[in-house]
């Protein structure tokens, strides 16, 4: 059986890219996509470790992450829609009413 280390490294790289995306992009939808990228990266690590240890708990965890991500996307996109409807903007900088 081969080594799963490259998969875990790739997972780390994708997670890092997702992190930077959340911090730098200003469009709320793209920020959300970066969060999805981070969730996918963690899923890859879970599945890789499931193979490493030879039991399926990691795959079950990845499955639950997918379910929770689906629920999160539905609510998050509904919030983005509501903000866009009232402010005519999908930028995360424009939703700053609590500052004043």
């Amino acid at each position: 059986m081969d080594d799963v280390t490259p998969y875990v490294v790739l997972s780390g790289i994708l997670f890092t890219i997702g992190c930077v995306g959340v911090l730098t992009r200003r469009n709320a939808i793209v920020v959300f996509m970066s969060v999805e990228l981070m969730l996918n990266a963690s899923n890859l690590a879970l599945v890789a470790f499931a193979k490493q240890h030879g039991n399926l708990d990691g795959q079950i965890a990845a499955f639950f992450v997918m379910v929770v991500a689906a629920a999160e996307v539905v609510v998050g996109l509904a919030i983005i829609m509501t903000i866009f409807r009232t402010r005519r903007s999908a930028s995360v900088d424009d939703a700053s009413l609590l500052k004043y």
């Binding site: 998969y7 790289i13 992190c19 399926l56 509904a78 900088d93």
Partner: protein
């Protein structure tokens, strides 16, 4: 491992593309590339059920939801480059590079050894083995998931629902409003002028021309005007002059110069061919 070494660079490039593309639609398509490649990697990691779920749920449902919202919000809602916190972008990139180096070098220090492999765990079939665990050890988490999904569905409905504050205006109310506007402000009573289709150009992005030669802005859709794709009337006039020059007939160039008899017969014939 061949699939991994082919797909890993594609995934990293596509993920980096999400950081750098300006349009959100392109970011969504790049995310689709990452997710599809990830599904293939799941197959290589002996997780055929997650391969199917990744394609159906992530690429099929979640990403399409992203594209739906992008269409509602407006495809051209591109990112602003203005920094609200000074130096935030530089700090974020520096922190990201730091995190990446930390993760990669940290993972380079350890040796995981040879993987045990899932041949024993997958012996009754991957889906059967997953179901055995899911409906025994993780059955409470599974049931809780159903509550989460129902809450998410209700939450999305509550957030997306909009209460109608005023009664919906029907045809009689709108006609009365139109007459009132005409009486008070002298607003035009009839329908909006049609665009200049076929008058100069065969598309609705051409405004109609008023008798004095200026473009009637109300004849073109507001959406086209917002996108900035309305053809300008003077530019079209140039087009016409160019064609007149090509066929050698220029009634607008000089008013006193009468067109030669031979070319006037040619002009309709050339027009008919197109």
């Amino acid at each position: 491992m061949v699939a991994f070494w082919i797909l890993a660079p594609i995934m990293v490039i596509a993920a980096l593309g999400i950081l750098f593309v300006r349009k959100a639609v392109h970011a969504a398509l790049l995310l689709a590339v990452v997710m599809m490649s990830l599904a293939v990697l799941y197959l290589a990691l002996e997780a055929p059920f997650l391969f199917a779920v990744q394609i159906i749920v992530y690429t099929g449902a979640i990403l399409m939801l992203f594209l739906f919202v992008l269409m509602l919000v407006g495809v051209d809602a591109s990112d602003s480059v203005v920094e609200t916190i000074r130096g935030q972008r530089a700090f974020a990139i520096a922190g990201g590079v730091g995190l990446g180096v930390l993760l990669v070098t940290g993972l380079g220090q350890i040796t995981l050894g040879t993987a045990v492999g899932l041949d024993d765990a997958n012996a009754p079939g991957n889906i059967q083995a997953l179901a055995n665990i899911l409906f025994s050890r993780y059955v409470f988490a599974f049931e809780t998931t159903s509550a989460l999904l129902i809450t998410a569905a209700v939450g999305a409905m509550v957030l997306a629902h909009r209460e109608r504050l005023t009664p919906k205006a029907g045809q009689p109310e709108r006609a009365a409003q139109r007459m009132q506007d005409y009486a008070e402000k002298g607003a035009h009573l009839g329908p909006l002028p049609p665009p200049g289709v076929y008058a100069r150009h065969n598309a609705v992005d051409t405004p109609a021309l008023l008798p004095d030669g200026t473009a009637a802005e109300s004849s073109v859709s507001r959406v086209l005007a917002a996108r900035g794709t309305v053809r300008s009337a003077p530019a079209l006039a140039d087009d016409i002059e160019e064609i007149e020059h090509q066929i050698g007939w220029a009634p607008h160039a000089g008013r006193d110069a009468a067109p030669p008899a031979s070319t006037t017969e040619e002009a309709p014939a050339t027009g008919g061919e197109h």
